[in-house]
Subunit: 158 residues, 2 copies
DNA sequence: TATTGTTATACTCTATAACTATA
DNA sequence: TATAGTTATAGAGTATAACAATA
């Protein structure tokens, strides 16, 4: 029995396979993402996860560490680790929160901004590569579905 | 600016956000998956990833370690590690391949089969939980899209 | 009392390189 | 020469528990 025969006849996948399928697709796309990023000469310690942390900070502009944790779906301890690494490389800054002295605010450094631009370029080319496989309609459908599922995910955490 | 205002106005997400969104959704769903599994009294060492390995073997019936590696999108070395752990717990068996003495074939043990049943139950309940958020049409659309993307992923590896 | 972030520690996932046995 | 899997080793991601500072 060949590989394709065995695992995936288009119309025969039951809905119950969606979850593992989503995990696999996500895994493969993350590998693509890291591979594609490796083609742009980014600093070697910038792994996929660290880049996702940077992008989250970039999107927010500035935010508290605990907010960063919740957006990334990871624990405070794990954020501390990412922040330690990224700060040591001067990609981000820790700033005191003026209205709560327990808290720490994170921002991108000026130095990292050109790197973010490169990452954006790389992301776009990866996206082109695989979004070409989908029709416009499928793309917007996918977007809609993912957003619905995302809201579930974030609500469940509270 | 509140959390929901900031990150996700439904119609404003550009297609370029699909990739990070997919990663996040997948991450949150994996956390749900592991949480839900923790409610069924499964052996504690059965992490999400190890369960995915078991399910892959279960689906195949029996397969070579290198085929397992390619289906999971991981390297031979990593498979060895999973197999070591799962075999030590008597969840799977290593068998010699009769037609190639370099190769090793993996099968589920009889003992693990009731555990697989439990895992299936847990999977279904997770699936119900979040598939309820989607219409029938969205579910089949999602399935179709993921399969398309999956084929890209697996083809790229060769 | 509760929350923010850190220190100390540990487990899991993943990989590369060098190697053995076999093809 | 090339492939299948292992040994040795290491880096990265994640977490829990105990704690200090602050709310």
């Amino acid at each position: 029995m060949s590989n394709s025969e065995m695992s995936l006849k288009l119309e025969e996948i039951p809905v119950s396979e969606i979850l593992p399928l989503l995990f696999k697709v996500s895994h493969f796309l993350q590998q693509e993402f890291e591979y594609e990023l490796s083609l742009y000469d980014l600093p070697k310690q910038l792994t996929g996860s660290r880049i996702r942390v940077l992008l989250e900070i970039s999107e927010a502009g500035s935010l508290r560490m605990n907010e960063l944790a919740s957006r990334l779906g990871i624990k405070a301890r794990t954020v501390t680790q990412f922040v330690d690494v990224l700060e040591a490389e001067n990609y981000i800054k820790r700033l005191p929160d003026p209205i709560d002295r327990r808290a720490t605010i994170i921002e991108l450094s000026e130095e990292v901004k050109p790197i973010i631009k490169k990452i954006d370029k790389a992301s776009k080319s990866i996206l082109d590569k695989f979004m070409n496989l989908l029709t416009e309609k499928e793309q917007s459908e996918l977007k809609k579905i993912l957003l619905k599922l995302y809201f579930l995910g974030s609500q469940d955490k509270k």
